[in-house]
């Protein structure tokens, strides 16, 4: 009935590793922290390091597959496009250092170091942001997170907005799945090529989005009717105290921050500077 929801949810329930047990806030902080750092540094190697660490944690927490799939779909095409556009002579002002030539359709085109750096770094940066956000999402029990937010006295409206954001994607998956089942049972051809599949998919994107949005609204009605913003003190069955593991994780983040601050001060942050530094 709802493969989408279960796909994303089950991963959160079934595995019970240290990362699932970490406090949602700590993992959320990790997402913000990693995203900001790779943004400041702009360095492909550092960004790659962050990506590898995040993916390694994801693998340990048994949520590697959905994250990898998302990256594959969103990021890989970007890298190819980005590298091509940025590294080849399309007249970008930052392109100065030629590091080699490639042959395209008989033309000998120069490849620029700066463009290559940008072309690789940008998608990597976004990969870090996406994978750390998904890591947070997929390993965090939403009910627990909501409990934590209530405890932190975040206003009901804001909590609701956070929930709606997080539920939209699974609801979308869910709707897509439901509609495809409905269509198959009414004669949609299933033994067709990729192109036809994409076309079929595009044909339902709009109704899909509308109905997922409707569902988000229905959820709001349900939550309201079930006392979500009732003016009473809530009870929570979950402890929202930080554990030793949470503190350790925070400690590691702090240490890395200090180290990177030192690097920042001594070396600077231009990707080009880094590339040259490594090249040399």
């Amino acid at each position: 009935m709802s493969a989408g929801i279960s796909l994303l949810k089950r991963t959160a329930v079934e595995a019970n590793t240290i990362f699932q047990r970490l406090d949602g806030r700590v993992k959320f902080l990790y997402f913000i922290w990693a995203t900001v750092l790779v943004y400041i540094f702009y360095d492909p190697y550092l960004t790659l390091a962050f990506l590898i660490v995040t993916l390694a944690m994801a693998a340990y927490a048994k949520v590697f597959k959905p994250i990898a799939m998302t990256l594959l779909i969103i990021i890989v095409p970007w890298i190819i496009l980005g590298v091509l556009i940025l590294a080849l002579p399309f007249g970008f002002p930052w392109n100065k250092t030629v590091i080699g030539y490639i042959n395209v359709l008989g033309y000998r085109l120069p490849v620029y170091l700066e463009g290559l750096g940008w072309g690789i770094t940008w998608p990597l940066r976004i990969s870090v942001a996406i994978s750390s956000a998904l890591f947070f999402y997929l390993t965090t029990n939403q009910a627990k997170l909501v409990a934590t937010l209530f405890k932190m006295k975040v206003p009901f409206k804001a909590i609701y907005m956070i929930i709606a954001t997080f539920q939209f994607i699974p609801l979308l998956f869910d709707e897509a799945n439901t509609i495809i089942q409905a269509q198959i049972s009414r004669g949609l051809k299933t033994d067709v090529g990729v192109l036809q599949r994409i076309k079929n998919y595009l044909a339902v994107v709009i109704p899909l989005t509308i109905s997922a949005l409707n569902k988000v609204q229905t959820r709001a009605i349900t939550l309201e009717s079930r006392g979500f913003s009732a003016p009473v003190k809530k009870t929570f069955l979950y402890e929202a105290r930080l554990t030793a593991a949470d503190w350790a994780f925070l400690g590691i983040m702090a240490a890395v921050t200090v180290f990177l601050a030192w690097v920042y001060v001594t070396i600077g942050y231009s990707p080009v500077a880094h590339l040259q530094w490594i090249w040399a």
Partner: protein, 285 residues
């Protein structure tokens, strides 16, 4: 002892930019009573339910006239959030009942209790009890979205049973339940009423309703067509039939017998009454 917990006076309502769907509705439900609402599709039953917990008009907007007072709160002057502390509602589509914030059946039932601030031990006790009442033992750890239609409807009912609100509004709660399940759910509802909850239930399942409802309100095209003690409404066979509502089988059977044979049997509304009446009439006791 009769103090009205629900008071509806001259209620009229239309969804935004639409015709009126409720006209001049008047009724009262006393503490501990069960009111059954019956009527054909599109009569406005679900809309009326939503008027009792404030979704109409607070969420849907539209034109609103008259007054609805529930558990001492005038609906127009209180938010849905405030009303939610006194009124629990079970929606017609069980999927709509799900919070989306619960990974398991157990958590789904606990959700409402947590939001309303019940103490921890109480929550655990009530969740287990409600799950048992609807016959979902053994499914506690299942995802709310991996249930059969009837199981999901049972879960939807449990989420409100657990809260035991002052006022319970149930919109066709047993439509997808198997016959014994229907009976069990109605028994639980009846018990809650005996413990002091006030209950409004929309049902097409008139044979069950006949054994549980104190009063019945017959709604058609937004208007009240009959309202009063269950027996008075359900024995108006002609009127019910003309609106496309079937009375209980035994009621219809007896009505037809009286008409076609000129017999003068007392008209039963429940099976037990029928057995007694027929046994006596046919010379056995």
């Amino acid at each position: 002892m009769s103090e009205p917990i629900i008071k509806v006076e001259r209620l009229a309502y239309s969804y935004p930019r639409k015709e009126l769907v409720l006209y001049d509705i008047n009724f009262e439900v006393n503490k501990g009573e069960v009111l059954g609402i019956i009527g054909p599709n599109g009569a406005g039953k679900s809309t009326l339910c939503k008027a009792l917990n404030g979704l109409v008009p607070h969420f849907y907007g539209g034109k609103y006239g008259g007054r609805v007072v529930v558990a001492g709160m005038e609906v127009l002057e209180h938010t849905v959030a405030e009303l939610s502390t006194k009124v629990g509602i079970v929606f017609q589509d069980p999927e709509e009942q799900m919070s989306g914030l619960a990974l398991t059946v157990w958590e789904e039932v606990a959700f409402g209790l947590m939001m309303l601030g019940f103490p921890k031990e109480e929550i655990v006790r009530r969740v287990d009890e409600a799950i048992k009442q609807v016959g979902l033992e053994g499914f506690e750890k299942r995802s709310p979205f991996e249930l059969s239609g009837g199981q999901q409807q049972r879960l939807a009912i449990a989420t409100v049973l657990a809260v035991k609100p002052d006022v319970l509004v149930l919109d066709e709660p047993t439509a997808q339940l198997d016959p014994i399940g229907k009976f069990e759910v109605f028994s639980v509802i009846k018990r809650l009423a005996a413990e002091g909850s006030t209950i409004v239930v929309v049902e097409h399942e008139i044979e069950e309703l006949a054994t549980f409802a104190d009063n019945i309100l017959l709604l058609d095209q937004g208007r009240v067509k009959a309202y009063g003690p269950a027996r008075d409404v359900l024995t108006q066979v002609e009127k019910l039939k003309s609106l496309g509502v079937d009375p209980p089988s035994v009621t219809e059977l007896t009505y037809l017998l009286n008409k076609e044979l000129g017999a003068n049997l007392e008209v039963p509304i429940t099976l037990d009454e029928a057995i007694k009446i027929y046994a006596e009439a046919l010379g056995v006791s």
